[in-house]
Subunit: 345 residues, 2 copies
DNA sequence: ACCCCCTATGACAGCGCTAACATCGAGAAC
DNA sequence: GTTCTCGATGTTAGCGCTGTCATAGGGGGT
């Protein structure tokens, strides 16, 4: 039923009786072609099952419709949701995405960047603001718009969408203090630059209230998991019995802390307050529900794509940096009430 | 420092004083070029910062180095891990991956397939065995190897790697029965074909033991989440008070069930046995740890790529279908002991 | 009636690479 | 010495599309 050779532009053109370039135009700038021809061409394309050859297009125009995306992890829930936003937003455009995984290595990011830039992408989405010097330079020279996602600061390469991890950590810490907790601790895994900034937010806020102690901080560079959260908490509580609340670098850890607390019969929130980060869906359903910092991952992906497409197509004008903010979702895991305090002091 | 125009094959060739094709060969079939030249060419490539143009390569050879991947969801943890396996395995090859998201729609899968095939991919990875008739036909005619992942049956399009969801569900159900549970229930979300087969496994096994009741089955087509697990369990236990164990379609649901059980002070495992599916990392750390069916997601991704590459490069010969199997991870959530039974009867 | 300009279309070259065939020595076989 | 073979390299001709410039025809202004 289908011929061997795939239909080409020329085939379509021949069938309609026009030249190839007219078909090409009908596809790319329909308003440059008369409505009658346009319709005939559309019919021919349909009959022949013509599909444009992207390689030929790219080669001839030295422009691609590929948006390169570099994220540090595909398994991390947080990035998965960002990705979902990216894919969803991309669906209504005719850009393709090329995803690469830096695995939290600035070096790998750099080499990925080189590969991407070699292919003249239409746009680039990179994670965070901590590119290597070389990467930064490459990005600044890139012949396409670039969005940095997840974080914001006042020194963007180009476009930027995210929120302040430092501010978010400050707010979470303040919340724990306001609830009446005094032995504030921090549990962190991975400790990528974003995690570091969260720790700094915690440290500054706790110090400011005279409640910081290095002995109540535990971190590791290992990837964060629920199991790791349980382990770190076990280690921390043995070492620092004055601990009465933990701010966790993310929700996996927080869940692990809660499980371990339950195992040890430590009542949450009475003896131990818990606050996570990202507000994954499960936090609201946990028993008790776990306080967390809501972040807007899906929106981040969507915005990144929209900003990029606007910039590529020149319809820009929107702001170059978008702060998506965050929100402290207060739940039972940090809800220390007066009666709980009685036993404590 | 860098010239405007990017270096091309011809530039490299000129610098070494050979013809372009020799450089091309040095890159693609090094053993067809004398070692001396090979070395000189490598040096020139380095000096010029030459990066091959994949569009030109594709156009000239009418072969791409792109492997198309169609999965139903990017946010689902299970597929994220499969993806990780795919990306990892791909890293040591020079293939690129083109990821698309069918969102559990056979129709969308079909149209994605058409787009992919239009680009003559080097290989294709698709999820499951329930393609639409048209999709199936497209895949069978595809000019490249195809791997179906996640499931196995004896009617593969080409290659296949996965496990039997039916068998896994049977084994899980048998486990609950062996533990002494009698009021077996099933909680399922999404209810894609794989979930359906799990349900069938549950039904057949429970029926076989005379323990099946339709009233203890609850399903929905909504995406599964922890919260949904809690809700479905709440609904089910109200409707079917004789329920004493649930087999959950996946771990998110199982976790939700556990949380809801804790909220209602239903002791697990004494009054309620829980078994999940997939054995996500957190199941072992939950309190109590939750029994689940271990599946090998990461390995699935790796195998899929390896099979594909072998098939593409003709070094095949390996089996066409790989059964990765599964394992029942027995944990406390289903550990009904004799003393628990006393109160029950 | 003249020129100008604008719209719709076409001719041609070339993007950077590779397939296919051609060429050229040099050693092997006789 | 002649022929054959084979490994190393070159020549030629596109792959399918788009950028650029050219062309034809049809108003509108004066």
């Amino acid at each position: 039923m289908r011929n061997f050779r795939k239909a080409t532009l020329a085939d379509v053109a021949a069938r309609v009786g026009v030249s190839a370039i007219t078909v090409s135009r009908a596809l790319r700038m329909p308003d440059k072609v008369s409505p009658r021809l346009r319709e005939e061409i559309a019919r021919a394309i349909d009959d022949l099952g013509y599909v444009p050859n992207p390689a030929a297009r790219t080669l001839a125009s030295s422009r691609t419709n590929v948006i390169g995306v570099i994220i540090p992890s595909v398994t991390n829930n947080v990035f998965a949701e960002v990705l979902l936003g990216i894919y969803t937003a991309l669906e209504s455009t005719d850009y393709d995405i090329q995803l690469a995984n830096s695995r939290y290595s600035a070096l790998r990011e750099e080499s990925l960047l080189k590969v991407f830039l070699g292919q003249k992408p239409a746009g680039l989405i990179v994670t965070g603001i901590d590119q290597s010097e070389k990467s930064r330079e490459l990005l600044e020279r890139a012949a396409c718009p670039v969005v940095q996602i997840m974080e914001i600061d006042d020194n963007p390469v180009d476009l930027m969408v995210g929120f302040s991890h430092y501010d978010a950590a400050c707010a979470a810490t303040r919340h724990l203090i306001e609830q009446g907790y005094r032995g504030l601790g921090f549990i962190g895994a991975r400790m990528d630059p974003r995690s570091q900034r969260r720790l700094r937010g915690f440290r500054d806020t706790a110090s400011g209230a005279g409640l910081f102690s290095e002995s109540r901080v535990i971190t590791t560079t290992a990837a964060s998991t629920v199991t790791l959260g349980a382990q770190l908490f076990a280690e921390l509580i043995d070492r620092a019995p004055d601990l009465d609340a933990v701010f966790c670098n993310n929700d996996d850890l927080a869940l692990g802390v809660m499980f371990e607390a339950q195992r040890r019969r430590i009542p949450v929130p009475a003896w131990l307050g818990i606050c996570g980060f990202n507000d994954l869906e499960m936090m609201a359903t946990a028993e008790p529900p776990i306080t967390s910092v809501r972040t807007y991952r899906y929106e981040m992906g969507r915005h990144a794509v929209n900003m990029l497409v606007e910039a590529i197509e020149g319809s820009g004008g929107e702001s170059k940096t978008i702060d998506l903010g965050f929100e402290i979702r207060k739940r039972q895991s940090s809800n220390l009430v007066a009666s709980d305090l009685i036993g404590k002091f």
